[in-house]
């Protein structure tokens, strides 16, 4: 369906994130649809949605200590190669400095009773993207995640 052989080599999507869970979920879905349109295979596109949901939820909940309405920039770029699509997800928020790439990973071997609720976000980001880079730029957190997605070959 989204093989789109005539699709341009580089496509970009710029979005504005807000703090409501429904807005975060909708944005994650938009990232997934964009990745599909750019030729990514469905499982990889869904992983991009999962990663986007983690990153956006984290910003929405924790970047600002108050509950005031805020917005932040979300950009997705897809570069189409011979047999893969390189997708870059960039977020920028002016919240408190936070480097998610430095967060501790959960203990995946813990038993049910010992397994903490939550803490999975950074694990998802690390396991579902190929590179993660964080920088603090002029009072903003900038997170750049890159994923090499296999091309959708159809059925």
């Amino acid at each position: 369906m989204s093989q789109a052989p005539g699709a341009p080599a580089l496509q970009a999507l710029r979005l504005l994130g807000t703090r409501e869970p429904a807005a975060v979920a909708a944005l994650a879905e938009q990232v997934e649809e964009f990745a599909r349109r750019c030729g990514c295979a469905a499982p990889a596109a869904q992983q991009l949605a999962l990663v986007a949901e983690e990153v956006l939820t984290n910003i929405a909940r924790h970047a600002w200590p108050d509950d005031a309405p805020r917005s932040f920039a979300v950009a997705v770029e897809a570069r189409r190669g011979e047999d893969s699509v390189e997708v870059t997800l960039t977020t920028e928020d002016d919240g408190i400095p936070f480097d998610p790439t430095a967060a501790a990973a959960p203990d995946l071997e813990a038993a049910l009773e010992d397994r903490p609720i939550g803490g999975l976000g950074i694990h998802f980001i690390r396991s579902m993207t190929d590179s993660q880079s964080y920088s603090r730029v002029e009072g903003s957190n900038r997170l750049i995640l890159r994923k090499i997605c296999p091309l959708d070959r159809g059925e």
Partner: protein
Amino acid sequence: MNQNTQTGGPVVVHQLAGRIDTSTSPAVEAAIKAKLAEGNTRILLDMREVTYVSSAGLRVVLLVAKQAKAANGSLALFGLQPSVREVFDISGFGKIIPIAAGEAEARALIGA
């Protein structure tokens, strides 16, 4: 007759559908917890129509599994689509939450 020594309460099957994400997971959590509070401590989640589970959804599953266990009950899932199954495996939940292919097998997992 077959002997059934399980002393847990009745079994409740929750049929879930669509995306279980940061937006929809609170309603799922509330629905399961409401049944749990009524004494339905043996819980099956029918995942056949679920297309997407984020960590917000996994959090609900873990939370409910813990509460069911604390009430001497248990929880099992069945019918996971491959992409959803992958999320459970990546998170390590596949090892701590009973997951079955079909409902009959899932019932057996919780002794129902």
